[in-house]
Each structure stands twice: as structure tokens, then as C-alpha cells.
């Protein structure tokens, strides 16, 4: 039996740094893919090479989004409060990005801002839904934890 190996496994698997890193990667990649995708789709008369570069950058961003989402779903599972924090970060970041895109569209009149704003609005909605679910699950687990603590402190007679 190798307890040292299991302990090292716990350290590695439960590392907060790795989780936060992948949440940030997910958000940054989603923002990058949205911005480059919007520019690629809306900027008129782009040189062929520039259009190709935007397409490649958008594809790369989406690949990083998929990778970070897969890691967070399967390899570095977010637990309890971590899910609340991660979905809170996602809500904040996508909300800021949405505000930036709207401001750019309204004040600078840049056409690429509108599809970006649409995507960021979708991301904000999704992040909000995840935040609500994470908070609900977290509250449920906390309530159950408290109930179990009471039961364990005062076991039923007999």
C-alpha cells in the first residue's frame, strides 16, 4: 500500500492553482475567439491573408475553450465553492466584455462590436445560469453538512 503516492495524487488533483488557471484560460480564449471571430465576420474588404489569420486565431481560441472546458469537466473537477467562484468569475468577465462590446458599438460605431456583443451576451447568460446553479448546489451541500454534523454529534438513541 502506497500512502505517499495517494497523498501526492491528492495534492496534484486538488491543486487550486491548476483549476484557477484553466478557468482563466477558458475565459481568455472565449474572449479572444469572440473578438477575432467578430472582426473576421464583419470587417469589410479584409485582405485574404488577414481574413485567414482571423479565421485561424478564432479556431485556435475555440480549441483552447474546448480544451479548458474538458479539463474542468473531466480532469480538474470543480467542487462546491470552487464552482461558485469560477462561475462568478465567468459572469464578471463576460459582463465586462459585454459592456465593452456595447460601448464600442455605440460610441465608436464599429460594426464588429455587435456580433461580439451578441456572443458576450450569450456567455453572460450562460455564466449567470451556472452561477445560480452553483450557488444553489453549494447551499444544499452546506445545509446537508450541517444536518449531518448535528446527527453525528447527537446520534439517535437505540
Amino acid at each position: 500500500m502506497n500512502m505517499t503516492a495517494v497523498s501526492a495524487l491528492l495534492d496534484r488533483e486538488l491543486s487550486a492553482r491548476s483549476r484557477v488557471g484553466h478557468v482563466l484560460l477558458l475565459l481568455a480564449a472565449a474572449a479572444m475567439a469572440t473578438i477575432t471571430g467578430s472582426l473576421w465576420a464583419t470587417e469589410p474588404a479584409l485582405p485574404a491573408r488577414t481574413a485567414a489569420a482571423f479565421a485561424v486565431m478564432t479556431g485556435m481560441g475555440l480549441c483552447w475553450v474546448a480544451y479548458a472546458a474538458w479539463v474542468l469537466a473531466a480532469r480538474r473537477v470543480l467542487l462546491g465553492r470552487q464552482r461558485v467562484v469560477a462561475s462568478g468569475m465567468a459572469t464578471l468577465f463576460s459582463g465586462v466584455a459585454l459592456a465593452g462590446a456595447l460601448a464600442t458599438g455605440l460610441l465608436a460605431g464599429m460594426p464588429a462590436a455587435w456580433p461580439a456583443a451578441l456572443v458576450f451576451a450569450g456567455m453572460t447568460g450562460l455564466a449567470l445560469a451556472l452561477l445560480v446553479r452553483a450557488r444553489r448546489d453549494y447551499a444544499r451541500l452546506c445545509r446537508r453538512r450541517e444536518q449531518l454534523a448535528q446527527q453525528l454529534r447527537s446520534p439517535a438513541p437505540g
Binding site: N2, V6, L14, L79, Y138, C142, L148
Partner: protein
């Protein structure tokens, strides 16, 4: 016949650990490992027959546990859930290692089961019983290990192996006959 539950069979304590792990409390994971590492390792050791293989398998089990515990809905069923993961890990490894099909319920032929002619005479202590178990086909060894050595209930064994309780009973019946056969043959030598 149902075995008495072992000292660490406490569904309330299991759910307590599960909920704290799902909340992300690091010390709860340490307690989870301290509580279940040895039973899982013994189960793996029984089926693999080697310490090193049991170490590897148990580590794989913990990896899957850490990545899957957030999805465990009923914390009180932690024990069959853990052994269910261990069962899948061990079956995957046995299949990969031997590249041969396991004996199924339909295919089992008691008369055709090989008996180790060179085996030492079984003794009556637990060590000898483990020896005898190790000589059984994987399915029979596993069901006896879970029921008698790990002292899981019929219902829990059914959950671990993902088969109906009736199948567990028939496997147990066959496994006991095989073990008796082994003990009888070896006892005559």
C-alpha cells in the same frame, strides 16, 4: 446469510465525508483516503495477487474517485460506489493483462474449472482462505471477496458489480462450490 458489517460501515459517516469532499474540503479527502485506502487495496490485492499491481490499481481508483465524487448523489452509498469503481478498474486491468474473456454466468462450467495440482494444502486460517480465493476465476474470487472479506451486503455487491441480486446469489453459490471443491481436492493431498 449476510455477514456482519465491518467497523467502518457507517452510512452516516460516509455521507458526511462525501458532502465535505463535494464542498471541496481538502481534509475530508485525507479522511476519505485514510478510511477506505486499506479496504480498497485489500480488494485489489485479492484480485490481482500482487502488491505492486494492487498499488497501481488503487491509485487509479483514487484518481477516478477524485474526478467523480462531485457526481455522487447519495453519499450514504459511498461504499458500493467506491467498490464499484474499483471493480471497473480491476476488470479493465485484468482484461488488458490477460487478453482473455472472463468466465460469464452462462459459460461457467464447474467440471471444467482447473484445479492447481501443485497447490499447498489449505489451512484453516484467513491467509489460507485468501490463497484459495486467489485460485478461483476472477468473477467467483471477486464476489466472495466483496461478500465475505469486505463484508458488503448482497444489495451492495449487486450495486458494485452492476448485476441483479439474484445473479449475485448464484455467483456466490457457484463460488462457494468451487472453493469447497478446491478445499476438498487439496485436503485429500
Amino acid at each position: 446469510m449476510s455477514p456482519a458489517h465491518p467497523p467502518n460501515h457507517d452510512p452516516l459517516a460516509d455521507e458526511w465525508l462525501t458532502v465535505r469532499c463535494q464542498l471541496g474540503e481538502r481534509e475530508a479527502f485525507d479522511e476519505l483516503v485514510a478510511r477506505w485506502q486499506l479496504p480498497l487495496w485489500r480488494y485489489a490485492r485479492q484480485l490481482t495477487g500482487h502488491d505492486a499491481a494492487a498499488d497501481d490499481a488503487t491509485q487509479d481508483v483514487w484518481l477516478r474517485v477524485l474526478r467523480g465524487i462531485a457526481r455522487l448523489r447519495e453519499g450514504a452509498k459511498l461504499r458500493p460506489w467506491l467498490f464499484g469503481i474499483a471493480h471497473r478498474v480491476l476488470m479493465d486491468r485484468l482484461r488488458a493483462q490477460y487478453r482473455m474473456p472472463l468466465v460469464s454466468d452462462d459459460e461457467a462450467d464447474l467440471a471444467a474449472q482447473p484445479i492447481d495440482e501443485d497447490a499447498l494444502q489449505l489451512e484453516t486460517d484467513l491467509a489460507a482462505l485468501r490463497d484459495g480465493l486467489a485460485r478461483l476465476p476472477a468473477l467467483e474470487c471477486e464476489v466472495l471477496t466483496l461478500f465475505y472479506l469486505q463484508q458488503l451486503s448482497l444489495d451492495e455487491v449487486s450495486q458494485v458489480l452492476a448485476v441483479p441480486v439474484g445473479t449475485v446469489k448464484s455467483r456466490l453459490h457457484r463460488a462457494r462450490r468451487l472453493l469447497r471443491l478446491q478445499l476438498g481436492v487439496q485436503g485429500e493431498r
